[in-house]
């Protein structure tokens, strides 16, 4: 493996990412499965990086899951998205950052379609006006939340309390990055590092002391496949995809998996449990699973946030092995203790700073 080769490619795909004044849009899936991550994102952006991140109370789903579940027609999805843009415009922002990859993909796709088919854009504007009376500007800059963290990875590193290093061996942790399919597969130029060797997460890991490992099924989909998971009868396919990835990464002995997609971390986490239940297979070292994290969780850990504030107790595959390797302090007994309400939470769920 020659790294120069990858570096060359990475240097080719450097997208423009805004510096401040972000209009933040939440992810349905992550709000349900990784609420801690979105909280952590805002903490980091606001407290650590001192950025202006605005969240509009009236924004909704982008309808992406419905769209890719084929129950929501394309024009409907476009109009729902147009409404989100309208909210942004009204709030006086122009840098749009969705928390969800499916959304990010949908936004990119829609903007691209509008670019090639202006008549479609016109139609959507009319429909939005008719339905809601709203009008919108297209975002000046569209980036995924992980792009922003990637942009400020050095700043985060500077303030880091921990490094992704095995404190016992001094070796960097071996990290597998999993990029959501809709991040760059549809529009390689819209992703940091492109579609084949995405750098968005790799960059963070490098910066924070870990080592990214490349393995054959790196590009493989986690298997969500929308309808393929949403309907129980199809889940055999969904799990099979993740299994394919685990089988492929096992020989490289990864310490952890990092993701930037809403569904992926949940599936990579839960399917490990299912496969173990059904086939008695585990893919981590000494009989454990491979802990799966969102990039915010990892950033949070690096910055020394409390694991249980980050919501790591919501993982089915235990994350402790990694915490121990890094040497992060945490109280095992508080894992499921719901009494504690940390002070920081207050300002991050309600008001926009």
């Amino acid at each position: 493996m020659k790294l120069e080769g990858k570096k060359a490619i990475w240097s080719e795909y450097q997208k423009e990412i805004a510096d401040d004044k972000f209009f933040y849009v939440r992810s349905c899936i992550r709000q349900n499965f990784f609420p801690g991550s979105e909280v952590a994102f805002l903490r980091i952006m606001r407290d650590v990086l001192k950025k202006d991140v605005y969240e509009h109370p009236c924004h909704t789903t982008c309808s992406g899951i419905g769209y890719h579940g084929d129950v929501v027609p394309v024009e409907t999805a476009m109009t729902v998205v147009a409404r989100q843009f309208a909210l942004m415009t009204e709030a006086g922002y122009s840098n749009y950052i969705p928390s969800c990859i499916t959304s990010f993909g949908l936004y990119t796709e829609i903007l691209d379609t509008w670019h090639h088919f202006p008549e479609v854009e016109e139609k959507v504007r009319k429909q939005l006006k008719k339905a809601t009376g709203r009008e919108f500007e297209k975002p000046k800059n569209l980036a995924h939340a992980s792009d922003v963290i990637y942009k400020f990875r050095k700043e985060i590193a500077a303030k880091a309390k921990y490094k992704l290093i095995n404190k016992n061996t001094g070796e960097p942790l071996k990290v597998v990055d999993h990029i959501g399919c809709h991040y760059a597969k549809m529009f390689p130029s819209k992703g940091v590092g492109g579609a084949e060797y995405p750098y968005v997460l790799a960059g963070m890991i490098e910066e924070w002391g870990g080592q990214i490992i490349d393995y054959p099924e790196r590009r493989h989909c986690c298997g969500f496949g929308f309808r393929q998971y949403l309907v129980q009868a199809n889940r055999g396919f969904s799990v099979a995809c993740s299994k394919e990835k685990f089988e492929s990464m096992k020989p490289f002995k990864p310490d952890m998996i990092i993701t930037n997609c809403p569904g992926c971390p949940m599936f990579l986490d839960r399917w490990q449990y299912v496969i173990n239940e059904m086939e008695g297979k585990r893919y981590g070292q000494n009989g454990e699973g491979i802990p799966v994290f969102t990039y915010e969780e990892v950033a949070g850990l690096v910055l020394g946030y409390d694991p249980w504030d980050l919501g790591l107790q919501m993982h089915q595959t235990d994350c402790e092995p990694v915490l121990d390797k890094i040497g992060i302090e945490y109280s095992p007994e508080d894992k499921y203790n719901l009494e504690v309400i940390p002070s920081h939470t207050k300002n991050h769920n309600l008001i926009n700073v």
Binding site: R235, G236, V239, V274, N276
Partner: protein
Amino acid sequence: MVSHKMNNFGFKISQGRQIDYDSNDRRIANYIYEREPSFRLCIECGGCSATCTTGNHTKFSLRELHILIKRGENKSVRQDLKKCMLCGKCTMVCPRGVNTRNVVILAKQAFQKSDEYAI
């Protein structure tokens, strides 16, 4: 082997359907290569399948069978082979002079032998 605690998730883990070339057994193919070298000459034009008497009655593609044998996808081939009537039209139309008829005969043999002598 860890004992399975829970199993009723309401689905089975799907098995892959890729041709896994490395783990496939190509001894049937080699058996044919040795005895009918023209087997190598196929350019997969499909002439055989187009004229095939059996293919006129049921889903049966000699071209596909040839490829599957070459890839070592023996299971799927074995049953299908029996559908061939050996009428020989394929041999007549083959632009590369592949002795297709003999290929089928040899393949059948190879499969029968494969049981006895574990080819």
